[in-house]
């Protein structure tokens, strides 16, 4: 035999069973000043996987992702109905501390938003707030390594974070989010302000991080959702002023990304991903 390739288990993929959900979302609706933004959202978000939220503008995907770490609490007039369980516990229960929620469920935003401080202090910030200052240097190094930034900044930790490139700033923000040892990372359009090479670095980083973190990502870029995610939720806008129904976001389909992009169940999903709508 000249070719020494051996058959290994992985030559025939075994269908993946979905791991236990980190979030169980049940009939969630969000309103701003009494106006519906999203409604009827029910989905399980699996652990150690990347889940993408896609859909046209106004479908409520950013509103929905902000529900997962109670960021909507900070918006005046925002109200949430329904239930989101995080590891089986009601995320909006009366005894839940939103600060602790945000330590466990980190978030990265569209625009890199480092603080006007040094690289070191940016990563240290959340650790100091959460009183996790033992082994501070080691924690900062680990966060920067996990964010694939350590080798690029280890000799200039005291320089201003704003001196970094856009892609490096975004990875710094990821390091800042990882520093407090969360188990979930929410990413709201994390690459929309980045060039293609910086985008690829973030996508590679997400692929590495999903071994230890559950990731939810909102993206306008369908190809990005296809490239990086394991599960995809497609939301769309239902209702219009012409119909006399206030537009609000609804979840159309939530399935394995491979299925969404090869054989979606709902014609609205097919129309959106093939570019015929949206």
């Amino acid at each position: 035999m000249i070719v020494e390739t051996e058959l290994v288990r992985d030559d025939i993929p075994i269908p993946e069973e979905h791991p236990a959900p980190v979030f169980q979302v049940r009939d969630v609706a969000v309103t701003y000043g009494g106006q519906p933004a999203v409604e009827g959202i029910t989905m399980d978000v699996p652990s150690d996987r990347i889940t993408a939220l896609i859909g046209p503008s106004g479908c409520g995907k950013s509103t929905l992702i902000r529900c997962f770490n109670r960021m909507n609490d900070l918006i005046p007039g925002a109200a949430i109905a329904g239930r989101i369980d995080y590891h089986g516990l009601d995320l909006y229960g009366p005894n839940v501390d939103p600060v602790e929620v945000r330590r466990r469920i980190g978030m990265v935003f569209q625009q890199p938003n480092p603080f006007p401080k040094s690289i070191y202090e940016n990563v240290a910030f959340g650790l100091r707030v959460n009183k996790m200052t033992d082994d501070l240097d080691a924690r900062i190094e680990k966060a920067l390594r996990d964010a694939a930034l350590w080798d690029e900044v280890k000799r200039k930790l005291k320089t201003p974070a704003t001196s970094l490139s856009g892609g490096q700033q975004q990875r710094l923000c990821i390091a800042r989010a990882l520093a407090t040892a969360p188990d979930v990372l929410l990413m709201d359009e994390p690459c929309s302000a980045l060039d293609p090479i910086a985008t690829t670095k973030i996508e590679d980083l997400m692929h590495q991080l999903k071994t230890n973190y559950t990731i939810l990502i909102v993206t306008h870029n369908m190809q990005q959702a296809a490239r990086v995610s394991d599960r995809t939720a497609f939301l769309t806008v239902q209702g219009s002023e012409e119909e006399g129904i206030i537009p609000r976001g609804v979840l159309v389909e939530f399935d394995d990304t491979e299925r969404i992009f090869t054989n979606p169940s709902d014609s609205r999903t097919e129309d959106y991903i093939t570019g015929r709508f949206g």
């Binding site: 035999m1 020494e4 090479i197 690829t200 296809a226 490239r227 491979e258 090869t262």
Partner: protein, 231 residues
């Protein structure tokens, strides 16, 4: 360095599965040739059974390729590799089916004698067909254009042996009983000849993968054009 880890891993895994499938078909060929020589029904049955595994890998690779196209939008060299795997996967699966055809011939228990010039010729054809599959897989895996271009030369030898089977058949023309099994052995030769054709087709995919030019190494309808690029 920008590498697209997720995509690279999936593409590597898909190519590995194709090569593993090829190695499995190579084992199937060896086993069925031994079964043919020894008239061993158990080995022939094992070849039929093991073809399910070849088919499983074929279907898994088809699915993987579909997903890579849908999710990763490959371009340039990556696109050529995806396309070459897609086509070669089909050829390897068909080669597996040809070994099953030979196994079923053995299971039909034709009364051919344990030794004959036709069996000798089939054994030589089998060896050459196996060598061609080895070369096709190595050429693909190592992106070896010279090795790929050698495949039609090997195939010509296989074709000559196949035509020689008809000469052998004439020796049995007056003996009705022998003529029947000898005619059936012609079918086995035909399967091995087709096996070689598929190896050449994989070579053409390798050529496309490396150069971006699709070139039919042999063109049955236009033999005067053999070897000329078509795209």
């Amino acid at each position: 360095m920008t590498v697209r880890l997720n995509f690279s891993e999936k593409l590597d895994r898909t190519e590995s599965a194709l090569l593993a499938q090829g190695a499995l078909v190579r084992q199937q060929l060896d086993r069925v040739l031994n079964a043919l020589k020894a008239k061993d029904s158990d080995s022939a049955s094992a070849v039929v059974r093991e073809d399910d595994r070849v088919d499983d890998i074929y279907l898994a690779t088809q699915t993987r390729i579909l997903n890579l196209l849908a999710l990763q939008a490959p371009v340039a060299g990556d696109l050529r590799l995806v396309s070459a795997i897609l086509h070669s996967n089909m050829h390897v699966e068909r080669m597996g089916d040809l070994t099953v055809n030979i196994a079923k011939f053995v299971l039909d228990e034709h009364p051919y004698p344990p030794a004959s010039p036709m069996l000798d010729r089939l054994a030589e054809m089998g060896d050459r067909a196996g060598d061609m599959l080895d070369s096709a897989l190595v050429a693909f895996a190592q992106r070896d254009i010279d090795m790929a271009e050698e495949l039609p030369v090997s195939d010509n030898a296989l074709d000559r042996l196949n035509r020689g089977m008809l000469d052998d058949l004439r020796d049995y023309a007056g003996d009705e009983e022998s003529f029947e099994w000898a005619t059936n052995l012609i079918l086995v030769a035909r399967y091995l000849e087709r096996f070689g054709d598929h190896a050449v087709d994989i070579g053409e995919q390798t050529y496309f993968l490396i150069t971006g030019v699709f070139r039919e190494f042999t063109d049955a309808s236009h033999p005067e054009r053999d070897g000329h690029p078509t795209g």
